[in-house]
Amino acid sequence: MNWMTVTWPMVIGACVTLALINLRIAMGASRRAPHVFFFASALAVAAISGMELALLRSDNLGRTQTILRWAAVPIAIMVASVAGFVRTFFGTGRLWLVLTGAVLLVSAQIANLVGEVPLVRHAVALRQVGTFGGVQCTVPVVVGGPWTLVEIAAVAVVMAFVFDASLALWRRGGRRRAVIVGLSVIFFFLVSRGHAMLVENGTLQTPYFVSFAFLAVLIAMGHELGYDVLHAARLSNDLQTSEQRLHQAAAAARLALWEWDIRKDRIWAPNEERMLYGIAPEEEIDFKRFASTLHADDREAVKRAVDEALVGPEPFAAEYRVVLPDGTVRWIAAGGRVDRDAQGHARLLRGVSMDVTERKRVELEVAHLSRVSILGELSGSIAHELNQPLAAILSNAQVGCRSVGSAQPDLTEMAAIFDDIATDAKRAGGIIHGIRAMFKKNTPAEPHSVDVNEAVADTVNLLHSEIVIRKVHVDLFLAESLPPVIAGRAEIQQVLINLILNSLDAVNAGTVPARIEIATVRRGGRVIVSVRDNGVGITAEVMPRLFEPFATNKPGGLGLGLAICRRITDRFGGVLSAENHPEGGAIFRMALSVTDAQKAARN
């Protein structure tokens, strides 16, 4: 036991430890190539160290020669691994340089191994060398062969490659790494090679220290690799913190984040999100499970919105109802973006959900209030409409009373009177019914199937005296056999009243004989109601803000009507648009979706 038999095994131990640590990291890391190369080079250094010790302790020229021959293999592996490490770790360097080096190296070593005599390093004699502590060791006297130059050239090419790669990294900004790894690789390689040559030709009276130099190279490489691992750990820590922040911010904003892995059909959602949908914290969620939480009437629309987002350029956006296990209905607004792979296939859908139940409630309230206020404005007209049948009823009833009191009541006439009274009473009832529906709050809140032509006709009837008093001519062009649409009857009438009253105001301000045209038409899966007037049109100033609240060009107008109308049509998945007609006046269009049953029938 002397310092030599302790030191070399320590180098072996250190190399094997480093190798195993990096093997472990390589198995978990996302960038595993540098770790694998490091692992290979550390094992190679361990082997070199072992052989070096054996060489130093050999007292037989034949054995020394064999060890020298075989030591070339781990050295070649080491050189190649370092080159591979540099290339993968730096991400720079010329491929042709490293390939040339590898080809030269491998051919030199093969030649050295298979030749009758070693063609690179030929040990011709043994020499005793004394070291400190009185420990003796043996070193071979080596002469070069015909392939020695090739081997030197190979190392030189690899070193040139490392230098070139380091320079490139330096230019790219990775200065510290280029200096620590690049310079130490070149420096210790050259030192070990030079030192070994001086020992082998007898100039220096020291043992080999090749494995020590290589260990230094390993340490430099390991330092940088470790730095990356540390950096990754810190990043992941930061990421966690920032994720936590994001979640807290989202929770404060009542937003819940989610992510749908489309290929695996797995939805990741934190607890806040699960609570919105009434899903247990540990339950696995796929799209089907998500869909199962939705209100039956909204399922199709949500699926459609998702499908559109997956193929189209537009982000995903939908508002839908979720039915919680206890039966509570909640309105959720969700939006998200599709993440695509290089081929453009949808990979992930990431987004947020928000509970908008309260907003929806307020929206309905506002729509209702606006409806009530419109009815208030129309009270005179409504009274007029109602008083017509009432006047006829009263008059008929009084005539009937008097006839009954007469000596010979005319029964045929009495029957006619009763008939007229009944007809007029029904008519009055119809008007009251229509007004009551408009007055009702949020009912029916659920979209249902609505006959658009009927809604138009009823609305025009309701506004009849308003239209008459303003001396406007209203033409109806109602398409025959129009399919029902998904909407709310009262709300659709509310929109129509707003549009018609707007048109009435617009044509009254104009000079030409006032006309309004109301038309219904089917376009694919939609029914379009248009209200066109020949009035003053919409000014360019108001046009861009037309559907925003408080945008008005009507004196005394609050500017809420159209904003509410747009909200209403949005709620039913419809579209409300406006433009000026080229021949003057404005044209408003409301497009509403035909009921699914109708769509299916058509297909």
């Binding site: 009274a383 017509q388 009823i393 009263l394 006839s403 007229d420 008459v468």
Partner: protein, 216 residues
């Protein structure tokens, strides 16, 4: 109210109201015609207004409104009285209707008796109007029989001028004035100057001017 030549003309765009009003008038023993619009009324009624009549008129109608029809009617020499009925009468419209001489303004629904009273009043008013109109026509006919000189004399007589003054004014002898005067009284079928003054006023015949100087 049973006179056969008087007519109630109903103008209302609401068929139920027209029907019930026609029935009411029939039961009240009144001849009635109904029109769905002011335009139809103007087009179809031709002779009804020559006899005592009244118009039961709706305020709000498509096309020509009730107030506009009333205005047209009021330009007649013997304007047919109008009774307004409305489902929702606003104050400005009511005021305008009354200013334009409406007999009354009834809010729908109204009591039949109220309407029948108003109709009776309106018919009576129109009858009186037509009566006075026929008297004036008779006076004018008589006037047309007068010679130029007789008209001149009459215009002085109704100022209360004496024969002597008239003679001086016209540059003729007093006796001639006397002759003309008796012819005027005869042709105008009046016995006193007071009566002559009344019929001239009724027919709108103007008295002569400029007699003052002679009177003094």
């Amino acid at each position: 109210m049973s006179a056969t030549n008087q007519t109630v003309l109903i103008v209302d765009d609401d068929p139920s109201v027209r029907r019930s009003l026609l029935r009411l008038m029939r039961h009240a023993g009144l001849k009635a015609l109904a029109f769905a619009s002011a335009e139809e009324f103007l087009e179809k009624q031709s002779t009804a207004l020559l006899h005592p009549a009244c118009v039961v008129l709706d305020l709000r109608m498509p096309g020509l409104s009730g107030l506009e029809l009333q205005q047209k009617l009021s330009m007649d020499s013997t304007p047919c009285p109008v009774i307004f009925i409305s489902g929702n009468g606003d104050i400005p419209a009511t005021v305008k209707a009354m200013r334009q001489g409406a007999v009354t303004f009834l809010m729908k629904p109204f009591d039949n008796d109220d309407l029948l009273h108003a109709v009776a009043e309106a018919l009576e008013k129109h009858r009186a109007l037509l009566d006075s109109e026929s008297q004036v026509r008779a006076i004018r006919e008589r006037m047309s029989e007068l010679t130029e000189r007789e008209r001149k004399v009459m215009s002085w007589v109704i100022t209360g001028a004496l024969n002597k003054q008239i003679a001086a004014e016209l540059g003729i002898v007093e006796n001639t004035v006397k002759v003309h005067r008796s012819r005027v009284m005869e042709k105008m079928r009046v016995v006193s100057v007071a009566e002559l003054v009344r019929v001239c006023a009724q027919a709108g015949f103007a008295a002569a001017k400029g007699g003052r100087t002679i009177l003094i």
